[in-house]
Amino acid sequence: MVQGSTDAADEKARPEVAVEIAGLNKWFGEFHVLRDINLNVARGERIVICGPSGSGKSTLLRCINHLEDWQTGRIVVDGIELNDDPRQIVAVRRDVGMVFQHFNLFPHLTVLENCTLAPIWVRQMPKRDAEAVAMKYLERVRIPEQAEKYPARLSGGQQQRVAIARALCMNPNIMLFDEPTSALDPEMVKEVLDTMVGLASDGITMLVVSHEMGFARQVADRVMFMADGQILEINEPKAFFAHPQHERTRLFLQQILH
């Protein structure tokens, strides 16, 4: 739907590769957190990234909208090369939506205001239009009736759906999900995953750090396994789960599937 809403000329100008990561290396102090990451994400592709904690998967995701800096290598997002130029960074961030593990909704704003803040101030959209867009996406995540409430009044699952709606309001081409369900109570995981499955069917490019293997099986085009800051294995979900090639992948899948 996001792609369908843009006109043909715009479509042609966009490269087929949504995210291009080449030779990426990052250190936290002495700690080599990302080691020579190379990854091309095609337009509309959905990639689920999994791996043990500390493997660098969240850090990798956060590099894509430059919430983290890196030392060597390059990242090109939608044809925009990320460097230290703040204008390039903002251009990428306008184009890339992000959903966080802990929602990070703005507690002093209502649900509706959370959703309209960036469209009004970054896209310079008139308030009324921004609210119409926000209501559209709040309906999409099935909580339009909570629009006037403050985030603290909502359950975790509702808050995360608001966070998804807030990101969608910027009409992003790419969505990053950083463990979107790991801070949720078990009974709320499904409502968030269902929302994400709905998004996936729209053809939006998605990179999801998650351990929800059922979700990966259902929507991922590719599943990627990371450990110790390296990509160890990338494969189509069917093959990934049926015949994991790397020893570490097998071990990891054994541990989380049972």
């Binding site: 909208n65 919430l67 703040p86 903002v90 961030r93 306008r94 890339v96 939506g97 992000m98 966080f100 802990h102 990070n104 909704l105 703005f106 507690p107 002093h108 803040l117 960036a118 101030w121 970054v122 403050y150 603290a152 807030r166 990101a167 910027m170």
Partner: protein
């Protein structure tokens, strides 16, 4: 026979109302004053304290007080062997306490200023008032210009100039306190942001300013503003005494305010910055729309704390020869036609009452505001 490990509810429980609290005065008394031996002891001590302090105070302030007459009426006499407060003194000197030496014919301008200020404060403070954006515009743009024209004079429109040397009393106290508060908040915010800046020069300038101003007493700051400022500025441009004191007070309050607000900035989780950045908001918009509204809310009690301290610190401007409210009382009580211990005590009681009413008013208002904000995000 039921098993110990198995249980299955057969019928749902009825939804009940919560038990009613013990109602009535007696219930309240028992719960709040006599719930435990310790509490009973505290209650007894408080009753004794109140009985010890309040009746003499009321006797002095109201019952035995002298409401009119001259100095002699306030002295002990056969009718009134233990005279109370000499309110007659306050009545006679009241206009001096309020206006200082401001020319009598021009005092309506000060009254108008008070009204305009009270109107602005009321409009801003009333949270459900219509058009609070206009109120802010009025308070922060229109009112300062209007006040300047009213108080200093503008001969072109027929308002003769009044030198600030003649200002005094409540007028000076209110002007110094208001200017201090209105300047210290934005300056404090800027200093706090500068101190957290990534740019070393900005950061160190802020640190130096804050630490230097905070590290010396207000009296010293006032002296420096009063004595040193003229050394740097050409004589004909040298600002007048009151303005120099205003700058000193504003600088001093800003340094404290900066640290208070910095504490609020530190309290904002990183996730808030990241969420704002991920949406494409730049530094200033992240700060203005996401970080500051939350930081100011967290620090509201401390901000008011600084305001209250500042309000009382305005009394120190007397050190550079400015006649604030307290100084006018000092001057009046020394008048040989009135001087007596009772008159002095009355003067100070009046000053205490004035400062208390102002500070307690601020405190209560903000308390109400905090509760309102807490309801929103509870």
């Amino acid at each position: 026979m039921a098993s110990d490990t198995f249980y299955l509810r057969q019928t749902p429980l009825v939804v009940l109302l919560p038990p009613r609290a013990r109602a009535g005065v007696l219930g309240w008394l028992r719960a709040n004053l006599f719930s435990s031996p310790f509490n009973i002891g505290l209650t007894a001590i408080c009753v004794i304290l109140i009985a010890w302090v309040v009746p003499p105070l009321l006797r002095f302030l109201l019952v035995n007080a002298t409401w009119s007459g001259d100095r002699a009426a306030c002295l002990p006499s056969a009718d009134n062997p233990h005279p109370g407060a000499c309110w007659a003194f306050v009545r006679v000197w009241l206009s001096y306490f309020v206006y200082g030496f401001y020319p009598i014919a021009q005092r309506w301008r000060v009254d108008l200023f008070f009204v305009a200020l009270a109107f602005g404060i009321g409009w801003l403070a009333w949270l459900r008032a219509p058009r609070r954006d206009v109120a802010a515009l009025y308070f922060f743009v229109v009112l300062p210009v209007l006040s300047l024209i009213l108080l200093c004079g503008f001969p072109l429109i027929g308002l003769p100039g009044v030198s600030t040397v003649l200002w005094g009393g409540v007028l000076v106290t209110i002007v110094v306190a208001t200017v201090g508060m209105v300047c210290s908040l934005p300056l404090g915010i800027l200093l706090a942001l500068a101190r957290r800046s990534q740019i070393p020069v900005v950061k160190w300038l802020a640190v130096m300013f804050i630490e230097f101003v905070r590290g010396v007493p207000l009296i010293t700051v006032l002296f420096m503003a009063s004595v040193m400022l003229p050394l740097f500025v050409p004589e004909q441009l040298s600002p007048d005494k009151l303005l120099r004191a205003l700058i000193g007070v504003a600088m001093f309050a800003s340094a404290y305010m900066a640290e208070v607000i910095r504490a609020g900035l530190i309290a904002i989780p990183r996730g808030q910055y990241e969420a704002a950045q991920a949406l494409g908001l730049g530094y200033w918009r992240t700060t203005a729309l996401v970080v500051l509204p939350q930081a100011l809310r967290v620090t509201l009690p401390n901000i008011v704390n600084v305001f209250i301290a500042l309000f009382k610190d305005t009394t120190l401007v007397f050190i550079v020869g400015i006649f604030d409210f307290l100084r006018t009382i000092e001057a009046a009580r020394g008048d040989p036609r009135w001087t007596s211990p009772i008159v002095s005590i009355t003067g100070y009681a009046f000053a205490a009452l004035f400062y208390f009413v102002c500070c307690y008013g601020m405190s209560r208002y903000v308390h109400g505001m905090e509760r309102r904000l807490a309801r929103r995000s509870g």
